[in-house]
Symmetry: C2
Subunit: 207 residues, 2 copies
């Protein structure tokens, strides 16, 4: 099978939506998470992100990339209130979750507009998503602006984790597969998953 090659000079002259799809797909499967915030006036905001990442286990840190255009509400709310929630999108609500990426008018909460339910804990001021089985409350720890394109790497320290009990295995592993979790490709390609294998910690094999 032949390979299609793109050099950096080719990328610059590609049609815009083709390039957006191509480059967004290159990294492979990503997670689907809803980020919940409030603004200074207490109005809730909810947005889907495919860029939520593990940063470190001790201290317990997670991060995500906020783009300068679309995702400014989430980013500004976090700067203003210091707190946010990350909620794993289950397959039963992937269409409602995707719909949070529409550009709603100021004053409209994506919770109400998309049919998802805000839920609160005494340990976090930002709204969780009731429909999700894996929910994390975080406080802003660090924030880096990427010079090349103005995106922000937002890093939060975990204040609270809430996991549906049957999804947490004895060794701390969370069974997202059993939670009907999703893997996303590019901006719009939703996939279910099937468990293959957990591999042992890799060790050098002496020959």
């Amino acid at each position: 099978m032949k390979n299609k090659i793109f050099l950096s000079s080719d990328l610059k002259i590609l049609e815009k939506s083709f390039r957006t799809n191509l480059i967004n797909c290159l990294s492979g499967f990503q997670s689907a998470n809803l980020i919940g915030t409030k603004n200074k006036l207490g109005q809730t905001n909810l947005a889907i992100f495919n860029s939520v990442m593990h940063i470190g286990a001790d201290p317990a840190l997670m991060g995500f990339i906020a783009r300068p255009s679309a995702e400014l509400h989430t980013f500004n709310n976090i700067l203003d209130t210091n707190e946010f929630t990350i909620n794993a999108v289950p397959i039963e609500f992937f269409k409602e979750s995707h719909q949070t990426s529409a550009r709603f008018d100021k004053g409209v909460s994506e919770f109400e507009a998309c049919g998802l339910t805000p839920e609160y804990s005494e340990n976090c001021s930002a709204p969780y998503v009731k429909e999700c089985k894996i929910k994390i409350g975080l406080k802003l720890a660090e924030n880096y602006t990427i010079k090349s394109n103005g995106c922000h790497l937002v890093i939060g320290e975990i204040m609270e984790i809430s996991i549906q009990e049957d999804l947490l295995l004895r060794d701390g592993y969370i069974d997202h597969n059993n939670a009907n979790g999703l893997a996303v490709l590019g901006l719009d390609g939703y996939h279910t998953t099937q468990f293959l294998e957990r591999l042992e910690y890799a060790k050098v094999i002496e020959k």
Copy 2:
């Protein structure tokens, strides 16, 4: 179904491997990619990463998180030579790819030790992985050290993309699902994927 709650004070006193699994799983499914580099002397290095991310489409940028302990060879090689490759792990080679995370002695190339084949292009000095169907050559663009834990966010600009022709759809979308791509949960949980749906660009629905 009840939920299990962990507060930040609980996380600090968890058994270490339990905490590592728990926090690594929180973000949900991630990609499986092999990063290929060379050191100053030309010796090749290959390591599996679940943190490869999209940074931007124009300019075309990708990033990954390098931990201060395990992944210093990859990071130092990139600082020394400025170039690296990202190669999507196909299911046929997921065990060989996982094995690259073992702590091999200096002077051992993971390519040879794990049974993967280095491949070169005139457009990138770093080694590609011949067995992979989606390969990207990058040059170092930016590098941020995360203060909280010393991890590095490494960002590269794409110099070359090589994709098996049948995996590239007309609109630029790359069919990782058809490429037998993998979704990884935590440090060791490998999953296959099944295509569900591509959703349209979300628009506000007037009521």
